[in-house]
């Protein structure tokens, strides 16, 4: 019983962390172009985000 008192919050916190991570990725536009992301690793050049990826933020 005593172990549950801290194990359950820990489990929930880790799960929530994963959820927050997913929601962040969604907001920052990482799901905008899944096919493109798969192909882009083959292009040999700098792959700094150029601001156009985060289209979600610029929407009116």
């Amino acid at each position: 019983m005593t172990t549950l008192v801290y194990l359950i919050p820990v489990a929930l916190f880790l799960g929530a962390l994963g959820l927050a991570g997913f929601l962040w990725a969604l907001r920052s536009g990482q799901y905008e172009d899944l096919e493109g992301a798969a192909e882009r690793i083959l292009i040999d050049r700098d792959d700094r985000p150029d601001g156009l990826t985060g289209r979600a933020k610029m929407r009116p």
Binding site: M1, L4, I8, A11, L12, G15, A16, G18, L19, F22, L23, L26, Y31, E32, D33, L34, E35, G36, E39, R40, L42, I43, R45, D50, G51, L52, T53, R55, A56, M58, R59, P60
Partner: protein, 755 residues
Amino acid sequence: MSCCAPGAETALDVVDPVALPSSDEVRLASRSLGGGTHQTALSVPTVHCGACIHIVETALSTLEGVESARVNLSTKRVLVRWHGDQVPPFFATLGRLGYRAYLFDPETGKGDTILSELIRAVAVSGFAAANIMLLSVSVWSGAQGATRDLFHWVSALIAIPALAFAGGIYFRSAWNALRHGRMNMDVPIAVGISLAYAMSLYETITHGEYAYFDASVSLLFFLLIGRTLDHVMRERARTAVSGLSRLAARGAIVLRRGRVREYLPVGEIEAGMDLMIAAGERVPVDGDILNGSSDLDCSLVSGESTPRMVSPGAHIQAGTLNLTGPLTLRATAAAKDSFLAEMVRLMEAAEGGRSQYRRIADRVAGLYAPVVHLAALVTFLGWMAASGDWHLAGTIAIAVLIITCPCALGLAVPIVQVVAARRLFDAGVMVKDGSAMERLAAIDTAAFDKTGTLTLGRPRLVNAPSIDKALLAIAAELATHSRHPFSKAIAAFSGSCNQQRPASISEHPGFGIEATTQGQVWRLGRREWAEWKAYCGGEGQHGTCSGTVLSRNGVVVASFDFEDAARPDAGTAVKELKDAGLSVEILSGDTGKACRDVARSLGIGSFMPSLLPSGKVEHIEALTRAGRKVLMVGDGLNDTPALGAAHVSMAPATAADIGRNAADFVFLRESLLAVPLALDISRKAGRLIRQNVAIAIVYNVFSVPIAISGHVTPLIAAIAMSASSLIVVANAMRLQASTKPARKARTPYMVVQPR
């Protein structure tokens, strides 16, 4: 140019410079980001691998003024940011590389807020369902007393955000339906999950044994997955359709006080303004010609396959394509009062039959929800009478509601439609909405437009073998200098032998092309114009001796016969439709003779020529009154009202903009086999949907007695509900497996020609 741009070589041929959007048009379609920076969205359908991304991005970002270019491979779009007054030559650059690009409207480039809401809801409910399920498993494996209460309390807490956020979608939809006196599948879902939560909370407070938090949240999770997939599929189809080239003009050059030229968007053009229409542009508003003569392609407007010759004084309609010479036009109506707008009004007036259609899921829900709620009520009253314990009676009644909560039914329809839409998508057919497939499965009559639908709307030279090779080569050489569809057909025969280049070539809009070589005057064009040494009628008169000829010094040396080329597989498609039990008709605005030829060659028994747009609607409405369900396939502006009036409608990718938006299905490839394929898949999907509904009902027949007798525990509810959902999904997947893979289709994506 590269391995991966199918049709790129042919695309190069059709890119003719005038048909590309002018820089004024690009500026109009761009969004200003402030500070002199603009953002333009282009649709590039032929981008589809890493190399394409690299080529397109490198080429665009090296242009002067371009800040950045980013390809989105999933949506086949390119976002370009640029600054300065000069619009960089995007289209020419991409055209040289073999990628045909289209301008995208800024408003269609907006994000999809519903999709992101759905995905967030799936994530939240998935998180909640997984955690509650873990806690439930420990309860099922024998957690007792205080531990069980703790688990229940934690579950109740986790379920709150899931119900509030993810469940909100269902609560809103159910409330909307009830407020309008309708019933949909969301009503029993909303009632079920909220009652389950309320009862479980009561049980938790009173230290009860059974709580259904897991059932209510995992139900939400499953249903949201189905709903999200459905939305993604439809959104993909809509994106693909909106990425097609826009055929209506965006604006036109207006002559102010006879001198000043100004590019105005279509919406700002008023009656009385003078417009300049270059060869290759579409006419934006109705008007009278002040100056110039040309040939007009009316195929999209009236269905006529032969271009019409126009001269000063003639009245022309919005939507026609100016082929050969520049025109000055006095607008007689603003865009909102033009032919196009009239078609939209006709279409809206005709859209009665479709809105009356009730979706299968809603019809099932209309019967299902009252039956289930009644069963729960009867259970409650029965147990009250038998035991007198209202707590026991309430618990069992709510268990009935939970076990009958239409998890499988909620998935039964959308999952099949997602799988079917996916199959059609692979075959190049876009489905705008799930009910379209249900409606298509029910049709018994198919009505086709002729020009542009059964035919390609492009003439083909039919008597080439009988023409002297040398003369044909000369004609082809001349023909390459014109945009007239007949010239394009003749020009297709060029390139075989090396001809001496003619010294001077000039095009006489409305008449033909004249060239001078070594003292000889060659003319290719209308007979009455080319054959000036003979007795045949004067210039500008049609009729008696029309036809296209090649003349040398005024004497006809060769004549050309054309025929509108039928779409590939049109005959096979018509035959397949007939075999499927449909009656096939042609509804056309073209002449009786042209219709008869096409009808005979395709084996279609009945055709109605020379129909006005309202005539097509009347015919379809007459059929509908006679109890027929009509599929309308058409591409022109004049078909649009008929597309709206029909039970279900289809349009090719080359259709007019509003036609494409009005149609339920849009097929992107040239082959007409898309029509029988869509019919076949829709009918199969209809069968699977009925099977799925039957499975869901059988499930209820078995589970409801168990629930009414009071033997349902949360464990049984979880197993029964997941099992029925899995069976339904697996059954839907059979659609993917049963039909033979048609992924490698014969024709690649159609190159949308400037028509």
